[in-house]
Symmetry: C2
Subunit: 201 residues, 2 copies
């Protein structure tokens, strides 16, 4: 079943450009869901993969094309996986990045470095059509640990307190290009492209 058009189930222009860069050269026509009548679905899943599926399925149903959904967030071991799928609303429905970081740092207060392990996680789901029972699923993890205070001005979300010991920097201190190469999102995209090439779709 050849896919020609892929609808991106996201309103984020940065993501759209990123998918275009990866999928365009592989012969796909990438279109934003804003071109179609897609109502933003409630994210009722308990896992990243379920939320990515919900987004992709809503877009595939509305557009009548293949659709790519994504979901991502921060998983902290000492918090049994939290903030997880609630990463962007950890400190409440109207919370901003600073509120979420403050809450995270406060919950980990006093823990030694060895117990501050965390990873950013990204899940991508490519549904060939709304009823596809076997979507391509690609995940990426970026391992590091949570600092006690912020470092760096770049990025967004939890980037200023997420420290990657291999890079010797927080996510907010890395240049965008370098961050894309090592990030959960970059790894998930690489894994998805590998699957697309393998599956010959």
């Amino acid at each position: 079943m050849a896919i020609r058009t892929v609808v991106i189930a996201s309103g984020n222009d940065g993501k759209l450009a990123e998918f275009e860069d990866m999928l365009g050269p592989r012969g796909f026509e990438v279109r934003p869901q804003s071109e179609f009548d897609v109502e933003q679905p409630p994210e009722t899943g308990k896992t990243f993969v379920e939320n990515a599926l919900i987004k992709a399925r809503t877009a595939a149903e509305a557009a009548g094309h293949a659709a790519l959904g994504d979901d991502s967030g921060l998983v902290v071991r000492a918090l049994r996986g939290r903030p997880g799928i609630y990463s962007s609303r950890f400190a409440g429905a109207d919370a901003g990045d600073d509120d979420n970081i403050d809450k995270l740092v406060s919950e980990l207060e006093g823990l030694p470095e060895a117990r501050r392990g965390a990873y950013f996680y990204c899940c991508l789901v490519l549904l060939r059509h709304a009823d596809d029972p076997a979507p391509l699923i690609a995940t990426g993890r970026w391992h590091g640990y949570i600092l006690e205070s912020r470092r760096g001005d770049g990025g967004f979300g939890y980037d200023p307190v997420f420290y990657d010991p291999d890079m010797g920097a927080t996510a907010a201190e890395l240049p965008a290009g370098e961050k894309n190469r090592v990030s959960h999102r970059g790894r998930a995209l690489d894994a998805l492209m590998e699957q697309i090439d393998d599956a010959g779709i």
Copy 2:
């Protein structure tokens, strides 16, 4: 977060032995869900991964341990992915393997080989606990095409009409060892073990 005990969300002894063989040497204690009070959940998902998640989550909740769920079936391109998650009940709720095969062969009647492409698909999900937002997800595909009539006495399900051109045999003609090596299930297991080794859990 180290996992010690993994509950297998399946009542199938063959699967249990297979998981034991792979996970035991990696230091996991594998336990069947029959040891716990696990009620068989309704498989309400629209995809294999959702059904595998439902099984794993039910087992993790009841047992209070990590749990491994799986779901698998046959995906036929000319049927837009059907029988898919309904593979075992394609010809009805009480259908047996023969009924399902008859229905499949009849739906593909008259189609040339090039349009009879299909794959067996297996999805494995490892939840570290019931609220794990980022379970390990591993998938495997076994590509082939659907014959017009049965060949071979081994296996189960659609095996007698699933032909693998690389092996030059149907799934029902392959010795069990060889089938496990090339099958969707074997590939998904390999992919899961790779993820477990990578994730260091």
